[in-house]
Amino acid sequence: MAPTKPIIEIKDLTHTYSPGTPFEHTAVSHINLAFHAGELAGVIGHTGSGKSTLIQHLNGLLKPTSGQVLFQGEDIWKDKKFIHSIRGRVGLVFQYPEYQLFEETCWKDIAFGPKNQGISGDELDARVRRAAGFVGISEELLEKSPFDISGGQKRRVAIAGVIAMEPDVLILDEPTAGLDAAGRDAILENIRAYQQAQNAAVIMVSHSMEEVAELCGRLIVMNKGSVSMDGTPAEVFTHADELTEMGLSVPQVTSVFARLRAMGLDLPADVYTVRYAVARLLERKEDRSC
């Protein structure tokens, strides 16, 4: 992956909240990370591990206490105008984004972001409809009030509000929290669709190991304000003990397989999605029947 230039890069980032008061607290320290276009990365970590602080630096909502954030090689804090344009190119979807809806209709709410970027007229309408398409919001819903639709739909409208800015980097903080299984799968599918259509870099913060194992090609594990692991899901999930120590877990199917192996069955160690597990089990069944 080394030859291409990273789209966004974090260099030796440290952030301290409320410096000089009794509530002083360093949330992240000395973080170095780089993300490339077309990458789908998951960030996992225990509550308070600094995930949210980290992602808010990527679009300049928080200013690093020390260190740098580079977008296509340029420091995002170099001037005020630049930081404003960065917000459109690095889209950030907060946790429970449906609580930020405010307009009279879903269309207007989705249009808020691109409008702030200075887009208007037909282009604006096209952007809104395209974003709505990505998240599966139908035409008639666009004319409804965002306060009259279901929770899952609200969430999708809110995500569309960020996608409509067509960012090169899309960051989502627990996009599936509090949704049922169907809503969860739909949103993950939407995210993947956007990532593939735009060749965007997607960074997703999550608590669900199953979710990131399923979706992400790269996992970043945060612990106590620093990056403790960074690799493919297969690499990360082999460190089950360390993950448990950090208050995290491995996907359920991985621990089931680990127990089975402990019982003496000859099974692979790199199982972390149900789909893969089923495939390997079927393979073995075939072997045996021969």
């Binding site: 009794p22 808010q56 404003h84 907060f94 960020v162």
Partner: protein, 268 residues
């Protein structure tokens, strides 16, 4: 940025001042204010100031926090100083230029007035710095208890106050989050004309009100589910009890007040 609100900020601690009964502290604040307004001379001001400094040191409150609290009062303090400086016309004339006259008593009065306001503000800050807002409402409820006889809904008022206080940090946090989220969508709150800036507040206020109403509704339901029905016959989690240090505090307060009264008698 909203976290910088110092009004009523509480510095948690375990010092002797923190451990005082909140009712004691509230009553002591009243004694302190009365004393401050009775003080007339360098001696009595010195006495009250010594008391203020002693409490600050005992409560381990950084002096920086005190001066920070004074900042918003600066305009008011300067205004008072200027008024007193030019409108006191006794003592010896020091300066006479155009329509401005400065008399020696003017300087002294202005100085005393400024001292009085600053000490007043610092004293009240000491109370909120060393007492949690919940303890304070508790103390107020207890002190106002006699008013129940006059059918003043003391408990309900105190409950409303505790709930309001309880939700200030929550709502501030919520506002911060909403501001961040709208900023992430490119909203701009810092530039443009006044009308544009006021309009830019809509994306913050609408979600904030929606969530405040939602929270209020949820809280009311949760309270009803736990059979809350007001003050009648309710016992408390933390029962306030006066202890030996409270008695000591009252003695110190009494000494301060009588000291200043005595000094006044001697015209000091």
């Amino acid at each position: 940025m909203l976290k910088d609100i110092t009004l009523g900020q509480f510095f948690p601690g375990k010092t002797i001042i923190h451990r005082l009964d909140p009712r004691t502290k509230l009553l002591m604040l009243i004694v302190y204010i009365v004393t401050l307004f009775l003080a007339k001379s360098w001696c009595s001001y010195g006495l009250v100031l010594a008391f203020l400094v002693a409490v600050t040191v005992l409560g381990k409150i950084p002096f920086k926090a005190m001066t920070k609290g004074l900042k918003p009062m600066l305009v008011f303090i300067i205004f008072t100083a200027v008024l007193n400086l030019f409108y006191t016309k006794s003592g010896t004339l020091l300066l006479d230029w155009w329509i401005f006259e400065i008399w020696s008593d003017g300087i002294i009065t202005a100085f005393f007035m400024v001292m009085r306001i600053m000490m007043l503000v610092c004293g009240t800050f000491l109370l909120t710095y060393t007492t949690s807002p919940i303890a304070l409402t508790d103390a107020m409820e207890r002190l106002l208890n006699p008013l129940k006889k006059l059918h003043v809904p003391v408990h309900e008022l105190a409950m409303m106050m505790s709930i309001a206080l309880r939700f200030i940090p929550t709502l501030i946090e919520e506002t911060d989050k909403i501001i961040s989220a709208q900023k992430a969508r490119g909203a701009d709150f810092e530039t443009g004309s006044l009308i544009r800036r006021a309009k830019a507040l809509i994306p913050i206020l609408v979600p904030l009100f929606v969530s405040a109403f939602r929270r209020a509704d949820e809280l009311a339901t949760a309270m009803e589910c736990r059979c809350y029905h007001g003050g009648e016959g309710r016992t408390r989690l933390k029962v306030l009890r006066y202890a030996a240090i409270d008695l000591a505090a009252f003695v110190v307060g009494g000494l301060l007040l009588s000291g200043v009264i005595v000094l006044r008698r001697f015209g000091l």
